[in-house]
Subunit: 197 residues, 6 copies
Amino acid sequence: MVGEAPAKQDAPPAVMALALPRAELSQEMQAYFAKCEEKLGYVPNVLLAYAHDDAKLAAFAALYNDLMLAPSGLSKLEREMIAVAVSSVNRCYYCLTAHGQAVRQLSGDPVLGEMMVMNYRAAKLSRRHRAMLDFAVKLTETPHLIEEEDRQALRAAGFSERDLWDIGAVAAFFNMSNRMASAVDMRPNAEYHGSVR
Amino acid sequence: MVGEAPAKQDAPPAVMALALPRAELSQEMQAYFAKCEEKLGYVPNVLLAYAHDDAKLAAFAALYNDLMLAPSGLSKLEREMIAVAVSSVNRCYYCLTAHGQAVRQLSGDPVLGEMMVMNYRAAKLSRRHRAMLDFAVKLTETPHLIEEEDRQALRAAGFSERDLWDIGAVAAFFNMSNRMASAVDMRPNAEYHGSVR
Amino acid sequence: MVGEAPAKQDAPPAVMALALPRAELSQEMQAYFAKCEEKLGYVPNVLLAYAHDDAKLAAFAALYNDLMLAPSGLSKLEREMIAVAVSSVNRCYYCLTAHGQAVRQLSGDPVLGEMMVMNYRAAKLSRRHRAMLDFAVKLTETPHLIEEEDRQALRAAGFSERDLWDIGAVAAFFNMSNRMASAVDMRPNAEYHGSVR
Amino acid sequence: MVGEAPAKQDAPPAVMALALPRAELSQEMQAYFAKCEEKLGYVPNVLLAYAHDDAKLAAFAALYNDLMLAPSGLSKLEREMIAVAVSSVNRCYYCLTAHGQAVRQLSGDPVLGEMMVMNYRAAKLSRRHRAMLDFAVKLTETPHLIEEEDRQALRAAGFSERDLWDIGAVAAFFNMSNRMASAVDMRPNAEYHGSVR
Amino acid sequence: MVGEAPAKQDAPPAVMALALPRAELSQEMQAYFAKCEEKLGYVPNVLLAYAHDDAKLAAFAALYNDLMLAPSGLSKLEREMIAVAVSSVNRCYYCLTAHGQAVRQLSGDPVLGEMMVMNYRAAKLSRRHRAMLDFAVKLTETPHLIEEEDRQALRAAGFSERDLWDIGAVAAFFNMSNRMASAVDMRPNAEYHGSVR
Amino acid sequence: MVGEAPAKQDAPPAVMALALPRAELSQEMQAYFAKCEEKLGYVPNVLLAYAHDDAKLAAFAALYNDLMLAPSGLSKLEREMIAVAVSSVNRCYYCLTAHGQAVRQLSGDPVLGEMMVMNYRAAKLSRRHRAMLDFAVKLTETPHLIEEEDRQALRAAGFSERDLWDIGAVAAFFNMSNRMASAVDMRPNAEYHGSVR
């Protein structure tokens, strides 16, 4: 015999490995899902995974949207770059797929997205971006080693106190989200893969 | 010279290392702080750290309270045991102090609290609790290695699908919270240390 | 200021970080480059990197072509799956890009390629493929822990003695190639990124 | 069901996991145990664990007492700080409990004791103490990376040649003692937990 | 230029990196050194390193001699095999040199000594010896993961309770001794290298 | 019982763990083997392991001989020092034995060979050699962290662009060869052990 063909890695039949039925969603969450459908063409599977419990879904969505979309000294692309660099350390298939797409889309640069997935050190980055990602990755790998000199390196790269909070908060959030995805084996929507290539 | 005396590790002058002024808080958040003062005698410093931004504080509090206080197949003590075992891996001074106290208080067993801080494998644990903490710690250390057999081990120990979600969610949350605390050097309230010893 | 735009991650101006002029190539190597141009439309940059020394280029090409293209109990796709899973452990930007493309092309399954890059444990794999990649990744991460029971696991999954050699040889080769790419900062051809998405 | 209560983590019924009967102790060791009873109110369980063999007990006690109690350029508190920081790396329940108490008692600062257990980097330390603990922890985690520049860092912080010996010796000793405690599952005396809180 | 010749790695001019003068030795320690000279032809440098303080030298010698030479269910060779396997994990040049020689001498098998230095898993070992070294190496690398099942594995391989103590004690001791050697850069006597090859 | 004697670690009955019959060798490979017999007195077992396939043997030999024997700014001894330092990280019994002997022979310094096997940081090395081995070991342990500053450190130590290639290539090659040896459990020729001691 010469080899064996791997199965086609189809779009997921289920959004996660847990058998949890969809909850009755609140008006607010129904509207949120409708807005996703309208703007993206689909509801991201992470939201469907949380939809077994309306309160948990609402809490997750509120936190996520504040972190990734609210006004900040970090651009949305910068926040997505952090998301992917952190998810690369944690080797999270769901988040690398979904947020890798976001980096490609927001930057219009497919190669940048790939670099964040594979090894952010391979990218040509400004001092600002290198400092930002170095902090996020150290916070991911060895949080107990973060000290004042790490914060000073961010300030020296031009970041404000509030920017420091936001860098820490986005990196910390994806350390949660990566683990939630791994805990329940979340599967990304098929739409991400081919987008902005 | 024979040695040098270390400085007294006083109650913190500031709740974190970032210079971020307190925001104008919403009615809801003011009421939340008042309730903390009334029930605990203080506002936990993690909330004061988030209080530079009302929306971020509200999102954090909603997520935290749902995870740690809402009805679940896991008791509040079990959720706190996960919190401390995860924080021990990440060596988070803030969370070990605050949630170590919570384990001591909810269990009435100071030694159990110490064991969760130091090495949960030293405790005499039921199969349920050992499986729960083993999953939480593996999810913390090597999330990319979590597979279906890890979930099956939890089911075999008697946990429901929803319990699996909750174990994953609490462990994931403290991987965020530990890193947020490290990113900004949060300092725990002095009240925790001597409580329930 | 709100953020900063990252530089466009263009096609590389140079194939590597070392300033080594192109050697006079032998007839055989010239013919090999011509065949690449004809079949692929470009000469892979790894070959251009080696082209500063004809003997080194010839030795590398002979080894590579024997391993990846010669008859074997492993299909070409299986060999490429090993290449990418190993390169993912070593976070090698060059090899993940070039061989990730090869997995996509040989399988016709873009998602399979992504999974090999991100975390091969996320893929639905046959017992054969899981055993093959588990061995390759263990050999990469902790070669000193490989023992007879690891070889037995391959045999139990249906692999022959010669297959064991080939799995080991491909995994070992990419541990060399990943490090050569990192040592000199090899940059992949731009053609790979958008191909078979 | 909502949760399950963990068993009370009582004082240990046995001092270790090995079934080794108490040896006939020499006069000297009997006197030593009597002095412990008189001064502390109990014999530390580590000594009871060694008491299955009089010669081993005597050798351990002589080494321990010389290291921790004999005249040195390091104060007793400094030696205990090293003991706890090393035991924290090795997550040794016995030594963290017993020597964490010693730090609390010698310093009169319960918070300092907690910080040594959880993450010594969280403490406000003088340059002297930070250099001392950094050396001890590096020696614990990666002894093969200790080189002359590590010793020079201690000298630059004001330590003498003999102090260097003593720092190395205390750190090295607890790398032994932590492992002996783990090998036989030593259990600390109940008295430590609530002391100096 | 083609290369550069490395300096000859001569016998050490000093036994360690610390400048500590020899203490006045007690009668007992003088006799011990004389016995070393007589039996070995030299005083092992580890003893010369401790000789800056008679009490420390005496305590070290008493512990060492009890562990490695006193009656035990483990042969002297078995204890030396543990010494070298542990020292290999810690990459301790002094102990690998001195105790590698001891394994060669006690076994009359130079290859066995080399295997203990390089990777004990490469040796053909009985179940007894494999279990013994696996325990010693796990205790060295991850002491916090040692649990009752690890002790049970030793009992199942035929070891008594006292043997378990001795395996743990020898492994623990070399975790101290390796670190002491690294802390002060101890240099082995030249006699070891060529002996029993 | 007091202990058990380990089996004699004899010369290997087989050169590897795979049952692969010797191929019909080409004239060229037969001549190569004859030359080995004539110059060394034996054919290195690594070549016998590859001899199940003439093309693989030829490709391996061509690569090996170019790397280790062809003209280079690195002396043959320097290349062997890299080989051993890399093999020490990977704890490869075959390569440590064979190339440890090469370092002893080319340098005439048995101690240098031992130091490369045990911990190259213990050797008195020139700046050139320390920089060379530090790069090779970092490339082995964490190839994804190699960046331009690592290459600059080599240039600052006097290495040319071509030397950088050669250092990277030798280090990368032994990361392959170590893993091939581990994958199939290659066993070194008995002649190496006692040579140049």
